[in-house]
Amino acid sequence: MGGCGVSELGALKRSGVEQVTEMAENQSGSLMARLAEKLQSSWKTVVVAVPFLWLLIFFLAPFFMVLKISLAESVFAQPPYTPLVEWVSEGILAIRIVFDNFVFLWEDNLYLNTYLNSIKISSISTVLCLLVGYPIAYGIVRSSPTVRNIFLLMVILPFWTSFLLRVYAWMGLLADQGTINSLLIWLGIIDEPIRMLYTEFSVYVGIVYTYLPFMILPLYANMEKLDISLLEAAADLGAKPAVTFLTVTLPMTIPGIIAGSLLVFIPATGEYVIPDLLGGGNVQMIGRVLYNEFTANTDWPVASAVAIVLLLVLVLPMMLYQHIQSKESDS
């Protein structure tokens, strides 16, 4: 925050010089008027500089901090890592970079498997979200305007309620003594409860449930712009519904499919809460390993290296999403 203030003042001062000369000529009086005058001439700089500086300080700088610590060694001290740059003796500066943490991640099968497992779980969840979300989005688009608004509101509403409590709701449904097992036993379908909570299955359910709106909304936004007359034309020309879907509808909704899939895949890969609450200790995902490495093992360098590698894994999908976003806002 301090940084922003200083730059604002700098911008004001610079333009102030020009302002003062002008001011002397027309004698426009009070301090307030002069201040407003100054603000007017440099407001564009201020508009860009304030959020820009905020992001440089609180987004970019922390990222480099993680990079720096990932290249350090863990030591038993405060802070628990070796410094990057050190005065060895009079006037000699030593830069210490170690890649041990990354080598460690590569050689230890636990980490490699956890990364692969996270990607597997988030990929399958993305496909499941798409299979469930696509017909729902299509159904919403094809309904009458009033009904459409009600359904949209219903899709958005869970998004505004607590994410944590929606995951918690599934703990109650999937537990051994939970609602689903009790119902199945009562119906006489099973005799013994099926173990669902603390398995990979419950993690899939949790991810699909909480991320479904992220799939439906981009799909809806894309389909809303679809030209329905094209579908009717295809039907008039004798195309069967399945053919129309595969050759007309599906190709036209690909941008929506990609946007929705990325919005599910990227955060799900680094997910911490769902594997922890619904997977218990049985499902290893990288977000959970990172958190535990940092809090329980207090190994900052390894935790930082885990974060850097996770970022490398996700950088392509993230750039793809940014590309789509910027294309969207340009058109």
């Binding site: 007017q40 407001w43 509403l157 944590l164 709701a169 955060p267 930082s304 976003q325």
Partner: protein, 277 residues
């Protein structure tokens, strides 16, 4: 054929809505369960609401979370609006690519990475200049950083969809660019800023992971409190809390939806009137 297709869509819609809502309805039902074991029904009771209201931890956590959410939403709306304005209306400026990259990155950045990097940064900064103390300040700064990205996206899309004629007309009539901003652009942006404020407020109230990383001793937000309790299993008082949250959100969303609908109808009527005259 048409009929068969719409039956399928209707079935999918009903299934989807049931999937979204049954878990929440069950949360609410079990909050009125007399039994301490959540999924076993022991008769109707409101005792868990009493337990909840008498818990001082819960009140402290609610008040901290609300404070953070309000400060966060206000700053994030200001910063995000400035960022959105700069990106849509200023054309090219130095560092624009970096700027737009930094604005959208928090939207897709995994929370564990954002949380870890900010915590390490805060600890480093504290060692360097003795500020900030971990707790309210650090959580709020972390929340502003990701919330402003959402606000910027909302403002960007509103500005992009907004015709520039009004702004150009004002300029042609001799208004200075700053005057155009304060008298034309900002009032037109007000609904977008309100939506951004509400979204930032909710995102902040909802965040567990980033708050867990950046919090300090004694600063327990509501999600941190809920999480520490449900990690150990199902708790009926948490069901009561969930019911209250669902109720508040539903009322909020309904009011917001009604206002939007009224605004849309008003606009339609205006257009109609304009067309007639």
């Amino acid at each position: 054929m048409q009929g068969k297709r719409s039956t399928f869509l209707l079935a999918m819609l009903s299934f989807g809505m049931a999937f979204l809502y049954i878990p929440m309805v069950l949360l609410v039902i079990y909050s009125f369960n007399k039994s301490k074991i959540v999924p076993i029904w022991g008769g109707f009771s409101t005792r868990w609401y009493k337990v909840l209201f008498e818990s001082e931890d819960v009140w402290a956590a609610v008040s901290l979370s609300l404070k953070i959410a309000v400060v966060n939403a206000t700053f994030a709306t200001l910063l995000g609006a400035l960022a959105g304005l700069a990106l849509v209306r200023f054309g090219r400026f130095r560092g624009r690519t970096l700027f737009s990259g930094m604005i959208t990155a928090p939207l897709v950045m995994p929370e564990v990475i954002t949380g870890l990097s900010l915590l390490l940064f805060f600890i480093g900064l504290k060692g360097l200049i003795g500020w900030p103390e971990r707790g309210f300040t650090t959580i709020t700064i972390a929340h502003i950083t990701f919330s402003m990205a959402y606000v910027a996206v909302i403002i960007q899309s509103r500005l992009a969809g907004m015709a520039q004629d009004l702004e150009e007309a004002a300029q042609d009539l001799g208004a200075k660019p700053f005057r155009v901003l304060t008298d034309i652009t900002l009032p037109l942006l007000a609904p977008g800023m309100l939506a951004g404020w509400l979204l930032s407020f909710t995102l902040s109230l909802d965040d567990l992971v980033i708050a867990s990383f950046t919090t300090g001793p004694g600063s327990t937000t509501l999600p941190i409190l809920i999480y520490s309790r449900i990690r150990l299993g199902l708790r009926p008082d948490i069901n009561a809390l969930a019911t209250i949250i669902i109720l508040v959100v539903t009322i909020g969303v309904l009011i917001f939806g009604w206002l939007m609908l009224r605004q849309a109808k008003q606009r339609e009527r205006d257009m109609h009137m304009a067309a007639k005259s």
